[in-house]
Amino acid sequence: MAKIKSTSLNSFDRLALRHALVGWTGLLIFLTLGILLEVLHGLKLDLYLDVRQETRRFMWTLAHAHGTLFSLVHLAFAWSLTFSSRWMNAPGPGFRSASWAFIGGLILMPLGFLLGGIWTYGGDPGVGIFLVPAGALLMLFGCVRVLVLFASLRNLAAK
């Protein structure tokens, strides 16, 4: 067990810890998915490599890529939170809503791609794909929220 300096965590730390956990868990899941996809390549399995499965291949690759990338976004968010605590006493509703948006995006978008690739209709993915725009909007919302917060912090600092 790692030694920790203190168990007293402020609200920023708690939020950062949540996103560090989510980010690393996401990385674990989506890197594992990546390995799984490589195994499917290695074993030349028709369910993934057959010419009829092009849409599935594309969807699952996107699930892996987005999942991994968004996990890194969570880690970046966690890091942003840790240094935000220098200037703010507590994360306001902006950070909290961004937090939930990022979590929602990490779940919905890769899941949409994953489900969309399980059942496909020729060049169209399965209906799971409809989770993707919802996830994308959440991620976008989170980004905008964080951007606005940091922009306002910068303005405050300038004053």
Partner: protein, 646 residues
């Protein structure tokens, strides 16, 4: 201090070194990009003349397969590997099979030379327009006096068995493409003149000169429009196609409306949800009834003439038929009259018997390969049943060689409908052959290889039972004797009477005594000879009849007057034991052909006596050939001119 300045100097050197490496890498990268760009530009410039000479792309309702790929990747990929796609292609280095290596080929006495300049392909040849005037226009110019010109080869036809080429026509005819009357045999890797690649009676007038724009375009492109400029002085062409080759829209219909409608994802997912529903913006041949579905293939694989007005409409506006429509509204599909036909139907035949002879056996069975729809549509399976081309074939779920689907080459294809025990669990009661033998395979009896195309006998799509009477009366080879090569028609007639209760057939003495296959080989006309010759190499026939007695008869065909008969005979002779490496050039001069034939007979005589002898196969008990009878049959050979419009 010293060490400090040394260290800073070392740092400067190190920095400079890295800068130099960085700059050099940058320069190398720029050079590589520049060379690659120049190479691509050069290639584009070189290919420009090819693309400028090809038919233009239609900019109306046809969208091309590239647009279909985005939504139908699997269908696109499975179609992409077919020979339908590669039927017509631009003459680009990666697509040209022929060796343009300065070879000279003699076609009907005229010299053609093929060569390359850089990445472009050329032919030195008699002026194709002057040839067109002389051969097709009846202008009395001695062909050897026609001036020689150099023309760029811009387009290819074929990619499976052989490939032929098209050169750019004179500018005044628009984008007219003239034939280069040569064929490149892909497997044999050799050039041959066009006239020996087809069943064409030697010495018959009519050189194989044609233009792609008004004829081949019909079936070798998708949505072809010859674009005949009817008012132009020279009769020039502004030819356009939906796509070269046979692509998605040839079978599914033009795709523009479909693409526009399905940009809406809600529409697409509603259609996905209602999987059984038909998207009315496109045609799915699988969802059509068996007749409409087969007509799609029949737009090319059939014998027809266009209905009134549609001929000129085709010439000026392009293909009028759209998949899913009733093709009979725009075309008249010709059938050979039969014994049951009315005098009126026979009248059509009497007006132009040559037209029928070039496409059908005399009993009305289709002869010309590539006309499968004309055969199928005359079959009871089609007229009384619901068979369609898609019962056995698929453009997406098949081997590209024959486009047969997963059941198309098995009993399963037939037992989809004929599922009674006599055709399934108790098949021997019907076939009178062992259940697992090739004699119990439905298609071997009901779809024998009695059509001819592309140097090969191919399965006849006029599905019917073996008809010994048609063999005796009209000379149509039958399934039984094409497998039992050593048996006479008498033997077959008796077997049919015994097993199926058919009436005994009146036969001549020869038909009673001598193997039917030998009669076709030695005494038959060219179509009979080529079909019988092909079967000597057919494995089921070799198993049923033995093969060590066939060579001395097959050998006579090596000097046949017809190039295709010689080719098929030579090709199948090499499948016989001891002849695997028999040297034979089917377009050699006549004396050499005769010498090859004699050599093959002598080679056979030098071998051990055959395992089969007897009067039926014209081999004496001591293993020698009944040469006198053979010679007599050869003298009585049916030398009628045979032309097959495959």
């Amino acid at each position: 201090m010293n060490s400090g300045s040394e260290s800073s100097r070392a740092m400067v050197i190190k920095k400079r070194f890295f800068v130099a490496v960085f700059v050099m890498a940058g320069v190398a990268l720029m050079l590589a990009l520049g060379v690659s760009w120049m190479d691509s530009r050069k290639r584009q410039t070189e290919q420009q003349s090819v693309f400028e000479s090809l038919p233009r792309s239609r900019d109306d309702e046809y969208v091309s397969s590239n647009r279909c790929q985005a939504c139908h990747p699997a269908e696109h990929a499975t179609w992409h590997r077919t020979f339908h796609r590669t039927m017509t292609q631009p003459a680009l280095p990666e697509l040209v099979a022929g060796k343009f290596d300065d070879t000279t080929i003699l076609s009907d006495g005229l010299i053609y030379r093929v060569f390359k300049k850089g990445e472009k392909f050329f032919a030195e040849m008699p002026d194709p327009e002057e040839m067109m005037y002389a051969v097709q226009g009846g202008k009395l110019t001695p062909l050897k006096a026609i001036r020689r010109v150099e023309r760029e080869v811009v387009m290819t036809t074929g990619s499976h068995h052989y490939q032929t080429y098209w050169v750019k026509g004179a500018d005044k005819y628009g984008n007219l493409l003239q034939t280069l009357p040569l064929i490149y045999l892909i497997e044999d890797q050799r050039w041959i003149p066009r006239e020996v690649a087809f069943m064409k009676a030697p010495g018959e007038s009519g050189r194989m000169i044609s233009q792609w724009n008004h004829h081949c375009i019909n079936c070798h492109s998708t949505g072809g429009n010859p674009g005949l400029q009817a008012n132009s002085k020279e009769g020039s062409f502004a030819t356009a196609v939906g796509e070269l080759g046979i692509s998605c829209e040839a079978c599914h219909g033009p795709g523009e409306e479909h693409i526009k409608a399905n940009r809406n994802p809600l529409r697409r997912y509603t259609l996905h949800r209602d999987a059984g529903e038909t998207d009315d913006t496109i045609v799915n041949p699988e969802k059509l009834d068996h007749q409409r579905s087969s007509q799609i293939c029949g737009q090319c694989h059939g014998v027809y003439i266009r209905n009134e007005n549609f001929g000129m409409k085709f010439a000026t506006e392009g293909v009028q038929y759209r998949p899913g429509e009733d093709i009979n509204e725009k075309r008249y599909y010709i059938t050979h009259p039969t014994e049951n036909s009315t005098p009126l139907e026979w009248e059509e035949y009497r007006k132009n018997p040559k037209f029928f002879a070039e496409r059908w056996w005399e009993d009305g069975t289709i002869l010309a390969g590539g006309r499968e729809y004309s055969g199928l549509s005359q079959s009871a399976c089609y007229t009384r049943g619901e068979i369609s081309c898609l019962s056995c074939h698929s453009m997406h779920d098949s081997n590209p060689v024959d486009q047969l689907n997963h059941i198309g080459n098995s009993q399963q294809a037939c037992v989809q409908c004929h599922n009674e025990p006599a055709y399934t669990t108790n098949i021997s009661s019907h076939t009178h052959h062992a259940p697992e033998s090739t004699g119990s395979e439905c298609m071997n009896c009901h779809m024998p290889h009695t059509s001819y195309a592309l140097f090969s006998a191919i399965r006849n799509h006029q599905i019917k039972s073996p008809d010994i009477r048609a063999s005796a009366k009209y000379g149509v080879p039958n399934a039984c004797n094409l497998c039992h090569l050593d048996k006479s028609l008498e033997w077959t007639s008796r077997a049919m009477t015994r097993n199926y209760g058919t009436a005994p057939v009146d036969l001549t003495a020869e038909q009673k005594e001598i193997s039917a296959a030998l009669l076709w080989i030695l005494k038959g006309h060219a179509a009979q000879r080529v079909i019988a010759a092909w079967h000597t190499g057919w494995e089921p026939a070799r198993q049923a009849s033995g093969s060590d007695w066939l060579a001395p008869f097959q050998a006579r065909l090596l000097a046949d007057p017809y190039g295709v008969v010689r080719y098929v005979a030579g090709d199948n002779l090499r499948k016989l034991d001891g002849f695997e490496k028999f040297p034979f050039d089917f377009i050699a001069p006549e004396e050499k052909l005769r010498a090859s034939a004699e050599k093959a007979v002598l080679q056979w005589k030098d071998r051990a006596a055959p395992t089969r002898t007897g009067g039926e196969i014209l081999i004496n008990p001591d293993g020698s050939i009944m040469e006198e009878r053979v010679q007599k049959l050869l003298q009585e050979r049916d030398n009628r001119p045979v032309n097959i419009k495959e």
